[in-house]
């Protein structure tokens, strides 16, 4: 397999784990939410197993990202990582039952295009 394709597979895996990490964090924040301020939130988060899962996902993400950067130039890896915005929105809709309106989709598409241009520049 050539280095570029392998690199892009690593980027995709990194982005996937980052998204899973975000979903785990959101899941735990949702369970721990109440109206008693940050300290109350942190106390309940301490007992949430999905926080640890989220942090583990971020660590795996960092590992794959490092592997990706060893095979790809940043000018390709960085725009490719904007795939994360799509993963987050799709999975938030499927797993967290968030309502993604057309306005939100337009916003995410514009951001996606913008990040690709910033990465290519």
């Amino acid at each position: 397999m050539n280095a570029r394709i392998l690199g892009l597979i690593y980027v995709t895996l990194a982005v996937l784990f980052e998204t899973l990490g975000q979903l785990a964090c959101k899941h735990s924040a949702e369970n721990a939410r109440a109206d008693d301020g940050i300290l109350g939130l942190l106390r309940r988060l301490w007992r949430e197993k999905s926080v640890a899962l989220g942090i583990l996902c971020f660590a795996v993400d960092a590992g794959f990202w490092t592997l990706a950067l060893r095979r790809l130039e940043v000018s390709l890896a960085f725009p490719a990582s904007s795939l994360g915005f799509v993963f987050v929105v799709v999975l938030s809709r499927l797993w967290l039952q968030e309502q993604v309106s057309s306005e939100r989709w337009i916003g995410v598409s514009l951001i996606l295009g913008g990040v690709v241009l910033v990465g290519l520049s």
Partner: protein, 153 residues
């Protein structure tokens, strides 16, 4: 009266979310700047583990780790109130602030391609900011309605 309290609750919640997002973007920008400054102090001749060990000895790197922790706590408070598909894309604003800071502090050039990209990101964030910050749970605003109602009394 209830609807007024509910409206105030939603406004209060929206402000909390926006403050958290602004803080997340600011912390992200400062973290990136610190990290880059820290990494620039590490000699390039070192291998992976020696350069990691060197980084851990730098106060700037300790500051970076502290910023990561602050960022995590702040991000959890944002996620407690807002949709992930609302909050996460909005943090793309940090591409704009990091670019601005790079131009100001590291004197990096701004190409027209990058400028176009940054304008697209700003537009996208504007679109998302117009949507409801919370759609997953319709009972949420009722639960939070009790908080400002106490303040009103």
């Amino acid at each position: 009266m209830q609807s007024v309290a509910e409206n105030i609750a939603i406004t209060h919640q929206r402000r909390t979310v926006w403050f958290g997002l602004a803080l997340a973007i600011a912390l992200d920008t400062i973290t990136q700047m610190c990290w880059k400054s820290a990494v620039e102090h590490v000699p390039e001749s070192l291998g992976l583990w020696p350069s990691l060990a060197y980084a851990f000895s730098l106060p700037l790197f300790h500051l970076t780790l502290l910023l990561f922790l602050l960022q995590f706590v702040n991000w959890m408070t944002v996620l407690a109130h807002a949709d992930l598909s609302y909050a996460q894309p909005i943090t793309a604003l940090s591409y704009v602030t990091v670019s601005a800071a790079s131009i100001i502090f590291f004197h990096e050039p701004l190409s027209s391609l990058r400028l176009t990209g940054l304008v697209l990101i700003l537009l996208g964030v504007w679109f998302i900011s117009r949507t409801d910050h919370r759609t997953a749970d319709s009972t949420a605003t009722q639960q939070e309605g009790t908080f400002p109602a106490e303040v009103l009394q």
